[in-house]
Protein backbone atom coordinates (compact mmCIF):
# COMPACT_ATOMS: atom_id res chain seq x y z
CA UNK A 1 0.00 0.00 0.00
CA UNK A 2 1.37 3.38 -1.00
CA UNK A 3 2.39 5.65 1.84
CA UNK A 4 0.49 8.89 1.71
CA UNK A 5 2.45 12.06 2.36
CA UNK A 6 0.86 15.28 3.51
CA UNK A 7 1.64 17.83 0.80
CA UNK A 8 3.81 20.69 2.08
CA UNK A 9 2.04 24.00 2.63
CA UNK A 10 3.39 26.60 0.20
CA UNK A 11 4.51 29.82 1.83
CA UNK A 12 1.99 31.73 -0.26
CA UNK A 13 -0.84 29.88 1.46
CA UNK A 14 0.24 30.77 4.95
CA UNK A 15 -1.60 33.81 6.22
CA UNK A 16 0.63 36.30 8.02
CA UNK A 17 -0.15 36.29 11.71
CA UNK A 18 -1.41 39.89 12.04
CA UNK A 19 -3.86 39.35 9.19
CA UNK A 20 -4.88 36.07 10.75
CA UNK A 21 -5.51 37.65 14.13
CA UNK A 22 -7.27 40.61 12.60
CA UNK A 23 -9.53 38.34 10.59
CA UNK A 24 -10.49 36.57 13.78
CA UNK A 25 -11.49 39.90 15.31
CA UNK A 26 -13.53 40.71 12.20
CA UNK A 27 -15.31 37.40 12.45
CA UNK A 28 -16.01 37.87 16.14
CA UNK A 29 -17.45 41.29 15.38
CA UNK A 30 -19.56 39.91 12.55
CA UNK A 31 -20.84 37.11 14.78
CA UNK A 32 -21.84 39.47 17.56
CA UNK A 33 -23.67 41.76 15.15
CA UNK A 34 -26.05 39.05 13.94
CA UNK A 35 -28.95 38.86 16.38
CA UNK A 36 -30.03 35.35 15.31
CA UNK A 37 -26.59 34.11 16.22
CA UNK A 38 -26.54 35.76 19.61
CA UNK A 39 -27.00 32.53 21.52
CA UNK A 40 -24.60 30.55 19.35
CA UNK A 41 -22.01 33.33 19.48
CA UNK A 42 -22.26 33.49 23.24
CA UNK A 43 -21.77 29.73 23.48
CA UNK A 44 -19.00 29.48 20.89
CA UNK A 45 -15.61 29.73 22.55
CA UNK A 46 -12.39 30.55 20.71
CA UNK A 47 -10.04 27.62 20.04
CA UNK A 48 -6.26 27.59 19.78
CA UNK A 49 -5.62 26.72 16.14
CA UNK A 50 -2.79 26.62 13.68
CA UNK A 51 -3.27 26.63 9.90
CA UNK A 52 -3.41 23.18 8.32
CA UNK A 53 -2.73 21.77 4.85
CA UNK A 54 -5.02 21.29 1.81
CA UNK A 55 -6.04 24.96 1.77
CA UNK A 56 -7.88 26.72 -1.01
CA UNK A 57 -7.78 30.20 -2.54
CA UNK A 58 -11.56 30.28 -2.72
CA UNK A 59 -13.15 32.77 -0.32
CA UNK A 60 -14.80 31.16 2.71
CA UNK A 61 -18.60 31.18 2.72
CA UNK A 62 -19.93 33.90 5.05
CA UNK A 63 -20.47 32.55 8.56
CA UNK A 64 -24.11 33.63 8.43
CA UNK A 65 -24.75 31.16 5.59
CA UNK A 66 -22.62 28.44 7.20
CA UNK A 67 -24.64 28.67 10.41
CA UNK A 68 -28.16 29.29 9.09
CA UNK A 69 -28.39 27.06 6.01
CA UNK A 70 -28.00 23.53 7.32
CA UNK A 71 -29.19 19.98 6.90
CA UNK A 72 -29.39 18.47 10.37
CA UNK A 73 -32.64 16.52 10.40
CA UNK A 74 -32.44 15.86 14.14
CA UNK A 75 -33.60 19.46 14.47
CA UNK A 76 -36.06 19.45 11.54
CA UNK A 77 -35.92 19.11 7.77
CA UNK A 78 -36.06 22.83 6.94
CA UNK A 79 -32.75 24.49 6.13
CA UNK A 80 -33.35 27.08 8.87
CA UNK A 81 -34.57 24.54 11.45
CA UNK A 82 -31.14 23.58 12.85
CA UNK A 83 -30.30 27.20 13.65
CA UNK A 84 -33.80 27.99 14.92
CA UNK A 85 -34.49 24.82 16.91
CA UNK A 86 -31.17 23.73 18.39
CA UNK A 87 -31.12 26.19 21.27
CA UNK A 88 -31.91 23.52 23.88
CA UNK A 89 -29.20 21.15 22.75
CA UNK A 90 -26.43 20.70 25.31
CA UNK A 91 -23.12 19.74 23.69
CA UNK A 92 -21.26 19.92 27.00
CA UNK A 93 -20.40 17.70 28.76
CA UNK A 94 -19.90 15.09 26.03
CA UNK A 95 -18.34 11.70 25.61
CA UNK A 96 -17.31 9.94 22.41
CA UNK A 97 -16.83 6.19 22.76
CA UNK A 98 -14.52 4.37 20.37
CA UNK A 99 -14.97 0.60 20.40
CA UNK A 100 -15.36 -2.48 18.21
CA UNK A 101 -12.35 -4.17 16.64
CA UNK A 102 -9.73 -2.17 18.50
CA UNK A 103 -6.97 -3.09 20.90
CA UNK A 104 -7.61 -0.18 23.27
CA UNK A 105 -11.26 0.90 23.35
CA UNK A 106 -11.56 4.33 24.85
CA UNK A 107 -13.98 7.08 25.74
CA UNK A 108 -12.93 10.62 24.93
CA UNK A 109 -14.34 13.64 26.72
CA UNK A 110 -14.33 17.14 25.25
CA UNK A 111 -11.02 18.10 26.83
CA UNK A 112 -9.44 15.04 25.28
CA UNK A 113 -10.95 15.83 21.85
CA UNK A 114 -9.89 19.47 21.99
CA UNK A 115 -6.50 18.34 23.25
CA UNK A 116 -5.57 16.94 19.82
CA UNK A 117 -3.38 19.34 17.82
CA UNK A 118 -6.11 21.51 16.29
CA UNK A 119 -5.67 22.77 12.74
CA UNK A 120 -7.69 25.08 10.57
CA UNK A 121 -8.75 23.22 7.43
CA UNK A 122 -10.45 25.36 4.81
CA UNK A 123 -12.44 22.80 2.82
CA UNK A 124 -14.99 22.87 0.07
CA UNK A 125 -18.24 21.23 1.20
CA UNK A 126 -20.41 19.81 -1.59
CA UNK A 127 -23.94 18.89 -0.53
CA UNK A 128 -25.68 16.08 -2.40
CA UNK A 129 -28.40 18.68 -3.13
CA UNK A 130 -26.06 20.42 -5.61
CA UNK A 131 -24.96 23.36 -3.49
CA UNK A 132 -21.59 24.00 -1.93
CA UNK A 133 -19.75 26.12 0.60
CA UNK A 134 -16.16 26.79 1.63
CA UNK A 135 -15.81 26.29 5.38
CA UNK A 136 -12.84 26.98 7.68
CA UNK A 137 -13.14 24.00 9.98
CA UNK A 138 -11.14 23.50 13.15
CA UNK A 139 -10.26 19.89 13.80
CA UNK A 140 -7.72 17.12 13.72
CA UNK A 141 -7.11 14.10 11.50
CA UNK A 142 -9.43 11.23 12.35
CA UNK A 143 -6.40 8.97 11.81
CA UNK A 144 -4.78 10.36 14.97
CA UNK A 145 -7.71 9.23 17.07
CA UNK A 146 -7.86 5.84 15.35
CA UNK A 147 -4.15 5.29 16.00
CA UNK A 148 -4.73 5.78 19.73
CA UNK A 149 -7.27 2.93 19.93
CA UNK A 150 -5.09 0.56 17.87
CA UNK A 151 -7.44 -1.00 15.28
CA UNK A 152 -7.13 -4.79 14.98
CA UNK A 153 -6.07 -6.42 11.73
CA UNK A 154 -9.63 -7.59 11.19
CA UNK A 155 -11.01 -4.03 11.24
CA UNK A 156 -11.99 -2.93 7.72
CA UNK A 157 -14.57 -0.21 8.29
CA UNK A 158 -15.38 2.60 10.69
CA UNK A 159 -19.00 3.13 11.79
CA UNK A 160 -20.22 6.43 13.26
CA UNK A 161 -23.30 7.21 15.32
CA UNK A 162 -25.06 10.49 16.22
CA UNK A 163 -26.55 11.16 19.64
CA UNK A 164 -30.26 10.46 20.22
CA UNK A 165 -31.89 13.08 22.47
CA UNK A 166 -35.51 13.65 21.52
CA UNK A 167 -35.93 16.12 24.38
CA UNK A 168 -33.21 18.36 22.99
CA UNK A 169 -33.59 17.54 19.28
CA UNK A 170 -37.14 18.33 18.15
CA UNK A 171 -36.70 16.52 14.83
CA UNK A 172 -36.37 13.23 16.69
CA UNK A 173 -39.86 13.68 18.18
CA UNK A 174 -43.32 13.52 16.70
CA UNK A 175 -45.42 11.51 14.31
CA UNK A 176 -43.42 11.94 11.12
CA UNK A 177 -39.72 11.34 11.52
CA UNK A 178 -37.68 11.66 8.38
CA UNK A 179 -35.05 9.05 9.25
CA UNK A 180 -34.69 6.27 11.80
CA UNK A 181 -32.45 7.36 14.67
CA UNK A 182 -29.62 7.31 15.45
CA UNK A 183 -28.17 8.74 12.25
CA UNK A 184 -25.37 6.39 11.24
CA UNK A 185 -22.53 6.76 8.77
CA UNK A 186 -19.45 4.82 7.77
CA UNK A 187 -16.12 4.91 6.00
CA UNK A 188 -13.67 2.31 4.85
CA UNK A 189 -10.73 2.23 7.30
CA UNK A 190 -8.29 3.53 4.67
CA UNK A 191 -10.66 6.41 3.87
CA UNK A 192 -10.97 7.20 7.57
CA UNK A 193 -7.19 7.25 7.93
CA UNK A 194 -6.71 9.57 4.96
CA UNK A 195 -5.20 12.86 6.17
CA UNK A 196 -8.03 14.83 4.56
CA UNK A 197 -10.61 13.18 6.84
CA UNK A 198 -10.95 15.14 10.05
CA UNK A 199 -13.02 15.27 13.18
CA UNK A 200 -14.06 18.92 13.47
CA UNK A 201 -14.65 20.56 16.83
CA UNK A 202 -15.04 24.10 15.51
CA UNK A 203 -15.45 26.45 12.57
CA UNK A 204 -14.28 30.00 11.96
CA UNK A 205 -11.88 29.66 14.89
CA UNK A 206 -14.54 28.85 17.48
CA UNK A 207 -16.28 25.80 18.89
CA UNK A 208 -18.98 24.33 16.67
CA UNK A 209 -22.45 25.89 16.87
CA UNK A 210 -25.16 23.33 17.71
CA UNK A 211 -26.60 23.52 14.19
CA UNK A 212 -23.27 22.52 12.65
CA UNK A 213 -22.90 19.34 14.70
CA UNK A 214 -21.59 20.37 18.11
CA UNK A 215 -19.45 19.34 19.77
CA UNK A 216 -17.70 16.98 17.35
CA UNK A 217 -18.46 15.98 13.76
CA UNK A 218 -16.88 14.25 10.80
CA UNK A 219 -15.66 16.16 7.71
CA UNK A 220 -14.70 14.19 4.58
CA UNK A 221 -14.45 16.88 1.92
CA UNK A 222 -14.27 14.60 -1.14
CA UNK A 223 -17.64 13.06 -0.27
CA UNK A 224 -21.15 14.54 -0.25
CA UNK A 225 -21.97 16.48 2.88
CA UNK A 226 -24.31 13.88 4.36
CA UNK A 227 -21.28 11.68 5.07
CA UNK A 228 -20.20 14.35 7.56
CA UNK A 229 -22.09 12.90 10.51
CA UNK A 230 -22.72 15.36 13.32
CA UNK A 231 -22.76 15.27 17.13
CA UNK A 232 -20.96 11.92 17.22
CA UNK A 233 -21.23 9.77 20.34
CA UNK A 234 -19.81 6.52 19.06
CA UNK A 235 -17.21 5.29 16.60
CA UNK A 236 -16.94 1.52 16.09
CA UNK A 237 -14.44 -0.39 14.01
CA UNK A 238 -16.05 -3.26 12.14
CA UNK A 239 -15.22 -6.03 9.72
CA UNK A 240 -18.33 -5.60 7.57
CA UNK A 241 -19.49 -2.52 5.69
CA UNK A 242 -21.67 -0.60 8.14
CA UNK A 243 -25.23 0.49 7.42
CA UNK A 244 -25.50 4.18 6.59
CA UNK A 245 -28.67 6.23 7.14
CA UNK A 246 -29.24 7.53 3.61
CA UNK A 247 -28.36 4.37 1.75
CA UNK A 248 -30.79 2.47 3.99
CA UNK A 249 -33.46 5.11 3.35
CA UNK A 250 -33.11 5.26 -0.45
CA UNK A 251 -30.47 2.79 -1.70
CA UNK A 252 -30.93 3.72 -5.36
CA UNK A 253 -30.26 7.39 -4.58
CA UNK A 254 -27.47 7.25 -1.99
CA UNK A 255 -24.64 4.76 -1.84
CA UNK A 256 -22.13 3.86 0.84
CA UNK A 257 -19.26 5.70 -0.85
CA UNK A 258 -21.04 8.94 -1.81
CA UNK A 259 -17.92 10.37 -3.42
CA UNK A 260 -18.60 13.67 -5.17
CA UNK A 261 -18.96 12.69 -8.82
CA UNK A 262 -20.29 15.03 -11.53
CA UNK A 263 -20.78 12.08 -13.87
CA UNK A 264 -23.15 10.14 -11.66
CA UNK A 265 -26.43 12.02 -11.28
CA UNK A 266 -28.72 11.74 -8.35
CA UNK A 267 -31.80 10.09 -9.92
CA UNK A 268 -33.78 13.28 -9.37
CA UNK A 269 -31.22 15.93 -10.23
CA UNK A 270 -27.95 16.51 -12.01
CA UNK A 271 -24.69 16.50 -10.08
CA UNK A 272 -22.76 18.13 -12.93
CA UNK A 273 -22.82 21.60 -11.41
CA UNK A 274 -23.42 23.29 -8.08
CA UNK A 275 -24.48 26.61 -6.59
CA UNK A 276 -21.84 28.16 -4.36
CA UNK A 277 -23.77 29.52 -1.39
CA UNK A 278 -23.10 33.16 -0.51
CA UNK A 279 -21.63 34.01 -3.91
CA UNK A 280 -23.30 35.91 -6.67
CA UNK A 281 -26.89 36.75 -6.07
CA UNK A 282 -30.42 36.10 -7.12
CA UNK A 283 -29.65 36.99 -10.75
CA UNK A 284 -26.11 35.67 -11.06
CA UNK A 285 -25.91 32.61 -8.84
CA UNK A 286 -22.41 31.30 -8.22
CA UNK A 287 -23.07 28.21 -10.33
CA UNK A 288 -19.95 26.28 -11.19
CA UNK A 289 -19.01 22.87 -12.50
CA UNK A 290 -18.70 20.17 -9.88
CA UNK A 291 -15.26 18.55 -9.76
CA UNK A 292 -14.61 14.83 -9.34
CA UNK A 293 -13.95 14.09 -5.66
CA UNK A 294 -14.92 17.74 -5.05
CA UNK A 295 -11.53 18.83 -6.37
CA UNK A 296 -9.55 16.54 -4.03
CA UNK A 297 -8.93 13.87 -6.67
CA UNK A 298 -5.16 14.25 -6.64
CA UNK A 299 -5.19 13.25 -2.97
CA UNK A 300 -7.91 10.59 -2.84
CA UNK A 301 -8.48 9.09 -6.30
CA UNK A 302 -5.89 6.41 -5.46
CA UNK A 303 -8.15 5.05 -2.72
CA UNK A 304 -10.55 3.87 -5.41
CA UNK A 305 -8.14 2.48 -7.99
CA UNK A 306 -9.78 -0.32 -9.94
CA UNK A 307 -13.26 0.40 -8.60
CA UNK A 308 -16.25 1.16 -10.80
CA UNK A 309 -17.44 4.43 -9.26
CA UNK A 310 -20.71 4.28 -11.20
CA UNK A 311 -21.58 1.03 -9.46
CA UNK A 312 -20.09 2.05 -6.11
CA UNK A 313 -21.66 5.50 -5.96
Amino acid sequence: MAVYRIPPVPQSEITPEPVYLNRRALIAGALASIPALGAAAAAAAPLAVKPGPFGTDEPPTPIKDVTTYNNFYEFGVGKGDPAARSGNFKPEPWTLTVDGLVGKPRTFDLDALRGFPLEERVYRMRCVEAWSMVIPWVGFPLGLLLDMVEPLGSAKYVAFETVVRPDEMPGQKGLFQPLPWPYVEGLRLDEARHPLAILAVGLYGRTLPNQNGAPVRLVVPWKYGFKGIKSIVRISLTEDEPVTSWSRMAPHEYGFYANVNPEVDHPRWSQASEIRIGEGGFFSPGRRDTLPFNGYGEHVAGLYAGMDLRASY
Binding site: Y69, Y73, E129, W131, F176, P178, R268, W269, F282
Partner: protein
Amino acid sequence: MTGAATDRAAGRSGGRAAAWPWRSAAVWALYAAGFVPAAWYFWLGATGRIPGNAIKEFEHLLGIWALRFLLAALAVTPLRDLAGISLMRYRRALGLLAFWYVVMHFLTYMVLDKNLDLAVILADIARRPFITIGMACLVLLIPLAATSNALSIRRLGPNWNRLHRLAYVVALGGATHYAMSVKVVTAEPFVYLALAAALVLYRPLRPAILRRRRRGRPAPAARQG
Protein backbone atom coordinates in the same frame (compact mmCIF):
# COMPACT_ATOMS: atom_id res chain seq x y z
CA MET B 1 -79.07 19.80 -10.20
CA THR B 2 -75.86 18.34 -11.53
CA GLY B 3 -72.41 19.52 -10.57
CA ALA B 4 -71.86 20.84 -14.07
CA ALA B 5 -75.03 22.89 -13.96
CA THR B 6 -74.15 24.54 -10.65
CA ASP B 7 -70.67 25.34 -11.90
CA ARG B 8 -72.11 26.95 -15.01
CA ALA B 9 -74.56 28.93 -12.94
CA ALA B 10 -71.66 30.04 -10.78
CA GLY B 11 -69.80 31.14 -13.87
CA ARG B 12 -72.75 33.33 -14.84
CA SER B 13 -73.11 34.73 -11.35
CA GLY B 14 -69.39 35.50 -11.49
CA GLY B 15 -70.15 37.64 -14.54
CA ARG B 16 -72.95 39.38 -12.70
CA ALA B 17 -70.65 40.22 -9.82
CA ALA B 18 -69.11 42.95 -11.95
CA ALA B 19 -72.30 44.89 -11.38
CA TRP B 20 -71.47 45.02 -7.70
CA PRO B 21 -68.45 47.28 -7.26
CA TRP B 22 -67.54 46.05 -3.77
CA ARG B 23 -67.69 42.45 -4.91
CA SER B 24 -65.38 43.06 -7.79
CA ALA B 25 -63.13 45.09 -5.47
CA ALA B 26 -62.94 42.07 -3.15
CA VAL B 27 -61.81 39.88 -6.06
CA TRP B 28 -59.15 42.39 -7.07
CA ALA B 29 -58.03 42.57 -3.46
CA LEU B 30 -57.60 38.80 -3.53
CA TYR B 31 -55.44 39.07 -6.66
CA ALA B 32 -53.34 41.76 -4.99
CA ALA B 33 -52.99 39.82 -1.72
CA GLY B 34 -52.31 36.63 -3.64
CA PHE B 35 -49.20 38.05 -5.25
CA VAL B 36 -47.81 39.35 -1.95
CA PRO B 37 -45.86 36.15 -1.02
CA ALA B 38 -44.15 36.11 -4.43
CA ALA B 39 -43.40 39.83 -4.45
CA TRP B 40 -42.17 39.87 -0.85
CA TYR B 41 -39.88 36.87 -1.33
CA PHE B 42 -38.64 38.16 -4.67
CA TRP B 43 -37.67 41.41 -2.98
CA LEU B 44 -35.90 39.53 -0.18
CA GLY B 45 -34.04 37.43 -2.72
CA ALA B 46 -33.14 40.32 -5.00
CA THR B 47 -31.69 42.25 -2.06
CA GLY B 48 -29.71 39.25 -0.82
CA ARG B 49 -31.80 38.64 2.29
CA ILE B 50 -32.67 34.97 1.78
CA PRO B 51 -29.89 32.99 3.47
CA GLY B 52 -28.38 29.98 1.77
CA ASN B 53 -29.64 28.85 -1.63
CA ALA B 54 -31.92 31.83 -2.30
CA ILE B 55 -33.09 30.69 -5.73
CA LYS B 56 -34.14 27.24 -4.54
CA GLU B 57 -35.95 28.75 -1.56
CA PHE B 58 -37.82 31.16 -3.87
CA GLU B 59 -38.59 28.36 -6.33
CA HIS B 60 -40.00 26.17 -3.55
CA LEU B 61 -42.06 29.01 -2.09
CA LEU B 62 -43.69 29.65 -5.49
CA GLY B 63 -44.44 25.95 -5.92
CA ILE B 64 -46.05 25.57 -2.53
CA TRP B 65 -48.24 28.66 -3.03
CA ALA B 66 -49.32 27.38 -6.44
CA LEU B 67 -50.51 24.21 -4.74
CA ARG B 68 -52.25 26.17 -1.98
CA PHE B 69 -54.20 28.33 -4.44
CA LEU B 70 -55.15 25.33 -6.55
CA LEU B 71 -56.45 23.41 -3.52
CA ALA B 72 -58.29 26.53 -2.34
CA ALA B 73 -60.00 26.77 -5.75
CA LEU B 74 -61.03 23.12 -5.54
CA ALA B 75 -62.34 23.63 -2.00
CA VAL B 76 -64.89 26.24 -3.11
CA THR B 77 -67.57 23.77 -4.22
CA PRO B 78 -67.41 21.40 -1.20
CA LEU B 79 -67.32 24.40 1.12
CA ARG B 80 -70.56 25.67 -0.39
CA ASP B 81 -72.19 22.23 -0.41
CA LEU B 82 -71.22 21.20 3.08
CA ALA B 83 -70.79 24.41 5.07
CA GLY B 84 -73.05 26.76 3.13
CA ILE B 85 -70.19 29.22 2.57
CA SER B 86 -70.09 30.48 -0.99
CA LEU B 87 -66.77 31.79 -2.22
CA MET B 88 -67.71 31.06 -5.81
CA ARG B 89 -66.90 34.57 -7.01
CA TYR B 90 -63.30 34.10 -5.81
CA ARG B 91 -62.77 30.77 -7.52
CA ARG B 92 -61.53 32.10 -10.84
CA ALA B 93 -59.03 34.36 -9.04
CA LEU B 94 -57.78 31.41 -6.96
CA GLY B 95 -57.37 29.27 -10.06
CA LEU B 96 -55.56 31.99 -11.98
CA LEU B 97 -53.30 32.74 -9.01
CA ALA B 98 -52.38 29.05 -8.99
CA PHE B 99 -51.61 29.24 -12.70
CA TRP B 100 -49.41 32.34 -12.36
CA TYR B 101 -47.54 30.83 -9.41
CA VAL B 102 -46.86 27.69 -11.46
CA VAL B 103 -45.59 29.91 -14.29
CA MET B 104 -43.32 31.85 -11.89
CA HIS B 105 -42.16 28.56 -10.31
CA PHE B 106 -41.15 27.28 -13.75
CA LEU B 107 -39.56 30.58 -14.83
CA THR B 108 -37.49 30.64 -11.63
CA TYR B 109 -36.31 27.11 -12.35
CA MET B 110 -35.64 27.88 -16.01
CA VAL B 111 -34.07 31.34 -15.80
CA LEU B 112 -32.62 31.87 -12.31
CA ASP B 113 -31.75 28.26 -11.42
CA LYS B 114 -30.77 26.74 -14.77
CA ASN B 115 -29.73 29.95 -16.49
CA LEU B 116 -31.77 29.09 -19.60
CA ASP B 117 -29.58 26.05 -20.26
CA LEU B 118 -32.14 24.34 -22.49
CA ALA B 119 -30.18 21.09 -22.83
CA VAL B 120 -30.18 20.64 -19.06
CA ILE B 121 -33.83 21.68 -18.74
CA LEU B 122 -35.02 19.30 -21.47
CA ALA B 123 -32.94 16.47 -20.00
CA ASP B 124 -34.50 17.16 -16.59
CA ILE B 125 -38.02 17.12 -18.02
CA ALA B 126 -37.39 13.92 -19.98
CA ARG B 127 -35.44 11.95 -17.41
CA ARG B 128 -36.70 12.96 -13.98
CA PRO B 129 -40.26 11.79 -13.35
CA PHE B 130 -41.13 14.44 -10.76
CA ILE B 131 -40.09 17.17 -13.19
CA THR B 132 -41.99 15.46 -16.03
CA ILE B 133 -45.11 15.49 -13.86
CA GLY B 134 -44.58 19.12 -12.87
CA MET B 135 -44.13 20.14 -16.48
CA ALA B 136 -47.26 18.23 -17.54
CA CYS B 137 -49.22 20.08 -14.85
CA LEU B 138 -48.06 23.43 -16.19
CA VAL B 139 -49.06 22.45 -19.74
CA LEU B 140 -52.47 21.23 -18.57
CA LEU B 141 -53.09 24.50 -16.73
CA ILE B 142 -52.61 26.62 -19.86
CA PRO B 143 -56.01 25.84 -21.49
CA LEU B 144 -57.68 26.27 -18.12
CA ALA B 145 -56.18 29.72 -17.63
CA ALA B 146 -56.93 30.67 -21.24
CA THR B 147 -60.62 29.83 -20.80
CA SER B 148 -61.04 31.47 -17.41
CA ASN B 149 -63.30 34.24 -18.70
CA ALA B 150 -67.02 34.77 -19.13
CA LEU B 151 -66.82 34.62 -22.91
CA SER B 152 -65.18 31.17 -22.92
CA ILE B 153 -67.73 29.88 -20.41
CA ARG B 154 -70.58 30.99 -22.70
CA ARG B 155 -68.94 29.73 -25.87
CA LEU B 156 -67.85 26.34 -24.56
CA GLY B 157 -71.07 25.57 -22.72
CA PRO B 158 -70.97 22.11 -21.13
CA ASN B 159 -67.52 21.54 -22.62
CA TRP B 160 -66.15 24.24 -20.32
CA ASN B 161 -66.92 22.03 -17.32
CA ARG B 162 -65.47 18.98 -19.01
CA LEU B 163 -62.29 20.89 -19.83
CA HIS B 164 -61.94 22.29 -16.34
CA ARG B 165 -62.04 18.82 -14.81
CA LEU B 166 -58.35 18.87 -15.73
CA ALA B 167 -57.93 20.88 -12.53
CA TYR B 168 -58.41 17.61 -10.61
CA VAL B 169 -55.59 15.98 -12.56
CA VAL B 170 -53.35 18.98 -11.97
CA ALA B 171 -54.08 19.04 -8.22
CA LEU B 172 -53.13 15.37 -7.85
CA GLY B 173 -50.16 15.83 -10.17
CA GLY B 174 -48.95 18.93 -8.34
CA ALA B 175 -49.14 17.29 -4.93
CA THR B 176 -47.37 14.21 -6.33
CA HIS B 177 -44.67 16.42 -7.88
CA TYR B 178 -44.11 17.98 -4.45
CA ALA B 179 -44.06 14.66 -2.59
CA MET B 180 -41.61 13.19 -5.11
CA SER B 181 -39.29 16.18 -4.96
CA VAL B 182 -38.47 15.99 -1.25
CA LYS B 183 -35.67 13.86 0.12
CA VAL B 184 -37.54 12.31 3.01
CA VAL B 185 -41.08 11.55 4.06
CA THR B 186 -42.39 14.37 6.23
CA ALA B 187 -45.90 15.40 7.20
CA GLU B 188 -46.20 18.37 4.85
CA PRO B 189 -46.26 16.70 1.41
CA PHE B 190 -48.62 14.10 2.83
CA VAL B 191 -51.02 16.78 4.04
CA TYR B 192 -51.10 18.32 0.54
CA LEU B 193 -51.48 14.93 -1.12
CA ALA B 194 -54.30 13.98 1.27
CA LEU B 195 -56.08 17.32 0.74
CA ALA B 196 -55.79 17.00 -3.04
CA ALA B 197 -57.07 13.41 -2.91
CA ALA B 198 -60.00 14.38 -0.65
CA LEU B 199 -60.99 17.33 -2.85
CA VAL B 200 -60.85 15.24 -6.01
CA LEU B 201 -62.61 12.27 -4.43
CA TYR B 202 -65.39 14.57 -3.31
CA ARG B 203 -66.48 15.08 -6.93
CA PRO B 204 -67.72 11.55 -7.74
CA LEU B 205 -69.28 11.32 -4.27
CA ARG B 206 -70.96 14.69 -4.59
CA PRO B 207 -74.35 13.66 -6.13
CA ALA B 208 -74.89 11.07 -3.41
CA ILE B 209 -73.88 13.51 -0.67
CA LEU B 210 -76.20 16.21 -2.01
CA ARG B 211 -79.10 13.71 -2.30
CA ARG B 212 -78.64 12.66 1.30
CA ARG B 213 -78.53 16.23 2.51
CA ARG B 214 -81.70 17.12 0.55
CA ARG B 215 -83.53 14.16 2.04
CA GLY B 216 -82.36 15.15 5.52
CA ARG B 217 -83.53 18.76 5.15
CA PRO B 218 -86.69 19.58 3.24
CA ALA B 219 -85.60 23.17 2.57
CA PRO B 220 -83.42 23.14 -0.57
CA ALA B 221 -79.81 24.12 -0.23
CA ALA B 222 -80.28 26.61 -3.06
CA ARG B 223 -80.88 29.57 -0.77
CA GLN B 224 -77.40 29.18 0.56
CA GLY B 225 -75.96 30.35 -2.75
